[in-house]
Amino acid sequence: MERGKDERLGGEPGVEVLHLTEDRITFMLNNVDISVANSLRRVMLAEVPTMAIDLVEVKENTSVLHDEFIAHRLGLIPLRSEMAAQFNYARDCTCDDSCPRCSVKFTLDVKCEEAHRRNITSKDLVSEHPDVVPIDADGLGDDLGGIVIVKMGRGQELRIEAIARKGIGKEHAKFNPVGTVAMCADGAIDLNHDALSTLPLDKIYEFVNTPTDDPPGNCPAKVLLYNDISKAIQVNEQAVDEEKARDINFFDKMAYFAEWWNDFNQLKDKTAPELIRIRDRPDRFIYSVESTGVMPPALIAKVAIDVLREKVNQLQREVAKGVEDAMDGHGYAMAM
């Protein structure tokens, strides 16, 4: 097999980025089977290593929340994890307990001196490592910025030492780097031009146009065009590409739209042909990956592919060794 080529699908796997923002990447993976595509989705969800607070020592807590509650909330704070690859897992590290190679120390030392209340947020957490810090949550929720850990009244005090470690989503959901990973098969729109040409003109305009309110017969986006001169309806492929990059449910919505119009066409005559069909392209998959902010979304996908490859590599070595051992032990090869 040349360069990971899949014979049945007849082509090398390919990647095309459809959309990329600070917190989301949409990309298409071509020429792979759904099983391989799903492996990648699962790895992004559960096996991309990130950092999160894992051990909390409470020295003083006179806030209204009990120690465990606060420890849990600290664990859930997303920490920038671009550097995660450079840390050891605590269980694999050579140190006895924790060291700078496997952990990052955080301190929280606050006392409410204000007259009324004070929000203790992720901004009050002091990290020992310049790159492993709580994510910048400005503009999210509270106008103070930062993620609220606890609200304190006058005179209350919190002194905590916490240790962040590397982990994966499989171990605890707090290590999950993504909000969502949506994956769906790419689609294609087939128009039945013969059947469409029998529609009266007002119905054709209804079919093509997208009015502002949203009854089921509306096209979910402006992707169909009626050419007044050739009297034909066309699919605007560029608009389809833009729509599917914007909305991963686009083809699902198109399928509802198609069903409505096909039902409409078959109201009087059950044997009437379909006007439009939405076809799956099961060799092409669209992913929409939303980062929680711990890593840029493209890095999440990149690390996930690396993790997947290394998982296979490790398994390959283990199986090879396991087979060798079995041969030594039981004359396994002779049984052939």
Partner: protein, 114 residues
């Protein structure tokens, strides 16, 4: 929060092969693997013409264990399993190389547009 992490240390990973007297049929039991690799390996084996039967199972979701059953037309089952892992490695490796290029391409394209 001092509970033992579930993603267990590497050394507890085990592989057992249950093959009987005929090496062309075997059940491989892998620990700490799940549907992530199981289904992909199953698919690649199913496409191999030398494989007459392949199936995988995760007997219980809270037990980190996966079984892969492989029966071939004659060659050792372990050989085809290893082949499938090599293929899957190549696929992942190829996607890895392609992905970086695709992100760069998109960035260049969108910076030109601005």
């Amino acid at each position: 929060m001092e509970e033992e992490p579930e993603g267990a240390p590497r050394e507890t990973r085990t592989l057992s092969i249950d093959s009987g007297s005929d090496a062309s049929k075997a059940t491989f039991t892998l620990t700490h693997e799940d549907h992530t690799l199981g289904n992909a390996v199953r698919y690649i084996l199913a496409k191999n013409p030398q494989v007459s039967f392949v199936g995988y199972s995760v007997p219980h979701p809270s037990e980190p264990k996966m079984n892969v059953r492989v029966q071939t037309t004659g060659v050792p089952a372990s050989d085809v399993l290893l082949d499938s892992l090599v293929t899957l490695y190549k696929v992942a490796d190829h996607i890895d190389q392609t992905f970086a290029a695709a992100v760069d391409e998109f960035k260049t394209k969108s910076s030109q547009r601005v």
